[in-house]
Amino acid sequence: MRYLLRRAAHLVAVLFAVSFITFISMNLLGDPLKSILGPLYADKQVREEARAELHLEGSVPERYVEWVADAVQGDFGRSYNTRETVSAVIGERLPVSLMLMVYAQVLALLIAVPVAVAAAYRADRAFDRMSTAASFVFISVPGFASAVIFLYAFAVRNDLFPARYLDDSFFDRLYSMFLPALALALPLGAVYMRVLRNDMVNTLQEDFVMFARSKGISTFRILTRHALRPSSISLMTVVGIQIGALLAGALVVETIFSIPGLGMQIVRSILQNDYVVIQAVVLVLAVTYVVVNFFVDALHGVLDPRIRAARAL
């Protein structure tokens, strides 16, 4: 409990730092209105109206407090270019990006867990060596490279998969997101496979596995029921650590398959100098990331009684 409180205090401090850095970055531009308005900046009336609308009056601490207070209530202002509210834009795009990330995460685990278990079961044999070598290759291939290769091989050269996003039904979404999700899942799965395989090899040498075996429990059941759970602690940590890389990959791969998530929105906002939107997207992504990592950390204790016990001391 004390541990959780300390983590929570840390969480609050990091959230403050992250939001402040995001906020203050707008001031790096000098007068941000200059870039937002372009040639219109010369017109004093337009300039002052825009300044009022974008809440750019007052001292920096005042504006920060106001900005955070609005953001907490889901009010990020309006895009100065399209007049849409920023929260509406994020509300429309964030779920698409999240779905791609969850999809990739599921595929990565679906690939990594069986391969790792099989490799650990016969450690140092042919399959283990092959999968370890393959994982080394896949770790080095960034998501955007495999995405382009998949797009060309399975969508452009023939019609196995669509080259763009289909939105009509849940099945359509799964189908059209398969290639990008797979491209993201390969490097991710390669990392997971390595971590799980190493832990699993160690677990299989423990006494309780020997005991289960001597009781006559089948190999399959020992692997899946007895050995997998205690071996999955580091995997959980790594899943948490990799969320940042997955997020970055997802934003990039979206643009290759024209999936209308936050990545595509970032491209558009940067082209239009739509700083209000970019600032809000950065804040949402950073806060989500920080909070998710906090929960992954807390989940550790639930998964592993030993950690819970150690923390209670």
Binding site: T22, F136, V141, A248, T255, V282
Partner: protein, 292 residues
């Protein structure tokens, strides 16, 4: 003299493990080749990378003057890829050098001095690591502009925290060893102890991590290019070549425009990772031997 079974295994295995292997030298050769071509690009009499209709649009591999074919505007892909490699490799190596120097120094000082200084430095690392790296890059590049120097600096800043963390952790571990204590007992200043006793013991681990960081930086530039955040035009980079070549219609009709730079990027990243991995194993073995 009788050998215990474990020692026997060691003597049998050791010579095999101490070799770096053919694949290692192949990877080194590739890196030397790309760096050499990048450095020599101005004197190599390459085709002008921006010259439209240097050949017919969409020439294949090994077609006349254009060895690696041409893109949708008939520009020479070999030349474009080599000119692009100059910036991509610079980002890969120079930006991580920033992280290596700044992260290594701050991490070592924090780990050696401890106390409030350590808490501030570690706190700063924590905040930097709290942002997903692409999101922090997105923020900085949007608001600082996209000149080459700034892209270099931003990717460099991103590599400070991971390298610094390792530097601090290793310094803390080594600072408590007897030889460091001996140096301090003999009256060595803090700066001298860090330079002569601690630095030689942490520098290889940091170098290995920095090499990995180079591969990540090259990939990061590629990712940023897709979001429109790489170095601004007219500078060529691998990321910009790949992202402009991977839009639907160009990929269909002129696939080489994306695949030539992709292959260069993959081979380079793979070689750097492989070299880093092998060197790590190599030094671990040596350490194990000298300790035993």
């Amino acid at each position: 003299m009788q050998l215990a079974p474990s020692e026997l295994v060691d003597t049998l295995d050791a010579p095999v493990r101490r070799r770096l292997g053919f694949a290692f030298w192949l990877a080194v050769a590739w890196i030397v080749l790309v760096i050499g071509l990048a450095v020599l690009a101005p004197v190599l009499r390459l085709a002008d990378p921006d010259k439209i209709l240097h050949g017919q649009p969409g020439e294949g591999l090994l077609s006349g003057r254009n060895w690696l074919g041409t893109d949708d505007a008939g520009r020479d892909l070999l030349s474009r890829t080599i000119w692009g490699s100059r910036v991509s490799l610079l980002i890969g190596f120079a930006s991580v050098a920033i992280g290596f120097v700044v992260g290594g120094l701050t991490g070592m000082i924090a780990g050696y001095r401890r106390g409030w200084l350590e808490r501030i430095v570690v706190g700063a690392y924590d905040v930097m690591l709290a942002f997903p790296s692409l999101v922090l890059a997105l923020l900085l590049l949007t608001f600082l502009g996209r000149d080459l120097g700034i892209v270099l600096l931003v990717i460099g800043v991103l590599s400070i925290a991971p390298i610094g963390r390792l530097a601090r952790a290793n310094t803390v571990a080594i600072a408590s060893r007897e030889f460091v204590l001996a140096a301090r007992a003999l009256g060595a200043t803090a700066a001298r102890t860090m330079r002569r006793e601690i630095l030689p013991n942490v520098v290889f681990a940091l170098g290995g991590l920095a090499l990995l960081g180079s591969a990540i930086a090259i990939i990061a530039e590629g990712g940023l290019a897709y979001l429109g955040l790489s170095v601004k035009d007219p500078t060529l980079t691998w990321g910009k070549l790949i992202s402009s070549g991977s839009s639907g219609s160009i990929l269909r009709d002129y696939p080489l425009a994306a695949f030539v730079p992709i292959m260069h990027l993959l081979l380079t990243v793979f070689s750097v990772n492989f070299i880093g991995d092998r060197l790590r194993q190599h030094f671990q073995t040596r350490e194990g031997l000298s300790a035993g």
